[in-house]
C-alpha cells in the first residue's frame, strides 16, 4: 500500500522571465516498508520534491497523497495534524533541542500532539530501544557523537505511528562508519513498516534504498530496476590475497 503518492507534480517559482521550473510532472509512489532514494545534482529539484512530499510547500500543479489523504483537500489545521502524526523529517544538521535528553527529544512530537508526558516518554524510550539506542536515552545532544545525534533524530522522526520518513542528505556530515549506522537504522525503521524517501547526491547513501529515482532539471529521467539476488555478485567478488 502506498504511503506517499506524487501525481504529475510540478512546481514553478517566480514569474515571467524569472520563472524557474523546479519540478516538472513528477510522479513517484512509495509503499510502506520501502525506502526510495532520489538522486540528482544540485538544482535538480530534490529538496523541492521533499518539501512538497512533506506538505511544507504546495505544488503549482498535480497532487500529493500522504497516508491516504490528498493534501490539497485538507484544511490548514488538518494538514498540520497530518504532519505531526504521520510524517517525520530528518535533516543533515540533526535539529535536536540542546536542553532536552535524547528520549525527551524523541518524545517531543508526541507531547506536542497532546500525548501525556509520561506516556510520550515511554513510547520514546521504546522507539530508541527498537532502533538500538536505548542506552543513550538519558544523554544530552552534546554528549552524543554526530552519528548518534542523527540516529536520535531518526528515532524522533518515526516515533509513534509516523508512516512517512523524509530525509535530506541524512549522512552528509558524517564519516562513513557513522553514515552506515544511520542508514542501517533507516532500514530498520522501514522494516517496522515506515515508508522512507531519502534525497541525496551520494551514491553510497542511495545504494541503501530499495529503489533509486534519478532527477535531472526537475524531471524524473530514470530509476533502478528491482535488484537481482545479491548472491550473484559473490562469484565475481575480488578475494583478499592470502599473504596480506
Amino acid at each position: 500500500m502506498s504511503v506517499l503518492e506524487l501525481h504529475s507534480v510540478s512546481k514553478v517559482y517566480g514569474q515571467g522571465a524569472a520563472e524557474v521550473h523546479a519540478l516538472c510532472e513528477v510522479s513517484v509512489s512509495v509503499d510502506a516498508g520501502v525506502m526510495v532514494a532520489v538522486m540528482g545534482a544540485s538544482g535538480s529539484g530534490k529538496s523541492t520534491l521533499l518539501t512538497i512530499a512533506g506538505s511544507l510547500d504546495d505544488p503549482t500543479s498535480g497532487y500529493v497523497i500522504v497516508a491516504g489523504e490528498q493534501l490539497a483537500a485538507l484544511s490548514r489545521n488538518a494538514r498540520a495534524k497530518l504532519r505531526r502524526r504521520s510524517i517525520g523529517y530528518v535533516f543533515q544538521d540533526y535539529n535536536l533541542l540542546a536542553g532536552l535528553t535524547a528520549v525527551e527529544n524523541v518524545a517531543l512530537p508526541l507531547e506536542l500532539d497532546g500525548v501525556a508526558a509520561r506516556k510520550a516518554q515511554a513510547t520514546g524510550l521504546q522507539t530508541l530501544d527498537e532502533l538500538g539506542l536505548g542506552d543513550r536515552a538519558s544523554s544530552y545532544p552534546d554528549q552524543l557523537s554526530g552519528g548518534e545525534r542523527q540516529r536520535v533524530a531518526i528515532a524522533r522522526a518515526v516515533v509513534g505511528d509516523r508512516r512517512l520518513l523524509l530525509a535530506d542528505e541524512p549522512s552528509g556530515a558524517l564519516d562513513s562508519a557513522s553514515g552506515e549506522a544511520v542508514m542501517r537504522m533507516m532500514r530498520t525503521a522501514c522494516r517496522r513498516g515506515v515508508a522512507a524517501v531519502v534525497v541525496t547526491h551520494d551514491a553510497q547513501l542511495a545504494s541503501w534504498a530499495d529503489r533509486v529515482v534519478f532527477l535531472r532539471d526537475g524531471q524524473v529521467i530514470d530509476q533502478t530496476a528491482p535488484p537481482p539476488s545479491p548472491e550473484s555478485l559473490l562469484d565475481a567478488a575480488p578475494q583478499p590475497s592470502p599473504r596480506s
Binding site: E180, Q204, D222, P227, P230, L233, P240
Partner: protein, 193 residues
C-alpha cells in the same frame, strides 16, 4: 579500447578514407592513443567482412578506398555505447572512451549515455550494500571487500557526475580554443596504458 567502434563512430559522420580515419582518431582522442595505419586497414577489412562498413569497390588496387558505415554498423555502434563494461577489470578507461565517442556520434545524447552507465553502477552498488547489510556485520574480511567494491564503484559514478556537469557547463559556455600548444603530458599518459 575498441578501435573497431571508434572507427565506426568516425564513419557515422560520413564516408572517409583510411588515412583520414587514422588522423581523426588520434585528434579526437586527445592524441593519447597512437594508432598505426596498418591497424586501421586491418580493422576496416574485418568491419567490412562483418558487414558493418562498405567500401567503394571500384577503386583500383593501391588507390585509397572510401569507407562508409552500414545500417548494421550503426546498430552495432549504438549497442556498444550502451553496453556496460566488464567491471571485474578496471572500468574507467572504457567508460571514458564511451563518453568521448558519444560526444561525436550524431543523434546520440551524451547525457543519456552517461545516465545508462550511472544507473547500472548504482544498481551494482545496491546489490553490494544489500550483501553488507545482511552479512558483513559478522565477517570483517567480507565487509572490507564489500567496502572496496562500493568505493570503487562510487568513484566511477563521481566521475560520471563530474563529466555530466562539465558537459552541461560547456554547452552553455563553450570551452575556448587554447592560445598555446597543449602540453606533451597528454600523449605520454596514453602511451603508458
Amino acid at each position: 579500447m575498441s578501435v573497431r567502434h571508434a572507427l565506426l563512430a568516425l564513419l557515422s559522420e560520413g564516408p572517409k578514407y583510411g588515412l583520414q580515419l587514422r588522423q581523426e582518431f588520434e585528434a579526437r582522442t586527445g592524441e593519447v592513443w597512437p594508432l598505426n595505419v596498418g591497424q586501421v586497414y586491418t580493422t576496416l577489412q574485418r568491419l567490412e567482412r562483418d558487414g558493418f562498413v562498405a567500401s567503394d569497390g571500384t577503386a583500383d588496387e593501391g588507390a585509397q578506398k572510401n569507407y562508409q558505415i552500414t545500417a548494421e554498423g550503426a546498430t552495432e555502434l549504438a549497442q556498444w555505447l550502451r553496453t556496460p563494461p566488464d567491471l571485474s577489470s578496471p572500468p574507467r578507461d572504457e567508460l571514458v572512451v564511451k563518453v568521448l565517442v558519444a560526444l561525436r556520434v550524431p543523434g546520440v545524447d551524451v547525457h543519456d549515455v552517461i545516465q545508462v552507465h550511472r544507473r547500472y553502477l548504482v544498481e551494482l552498488m545496491q546489490q553490494w550494500t544489500r550483501l553488507k547489510e545482511d552479512a558483513a556485520r559478522f565477517d570483517l574480511t567480507f565487509a572490507l571487500v564489500v567496502d572496496a567494491e562500493l568505493f570503487r564503484l562510487d568513484s566511477v559514478i563521481r566521475w560520471l557526475d563530474a563529466a555530466d556537469g562539465r558537459l552541461k557547463r560547456a554547452a552553455i559556455e563553450p570551452v575556448p580554443a587554447p592560445e598555446f600548444p597543449m602540453p606533451k603530458v597528454r600523449r605520454r599518459v596514453g602511451v603508458q596504458r
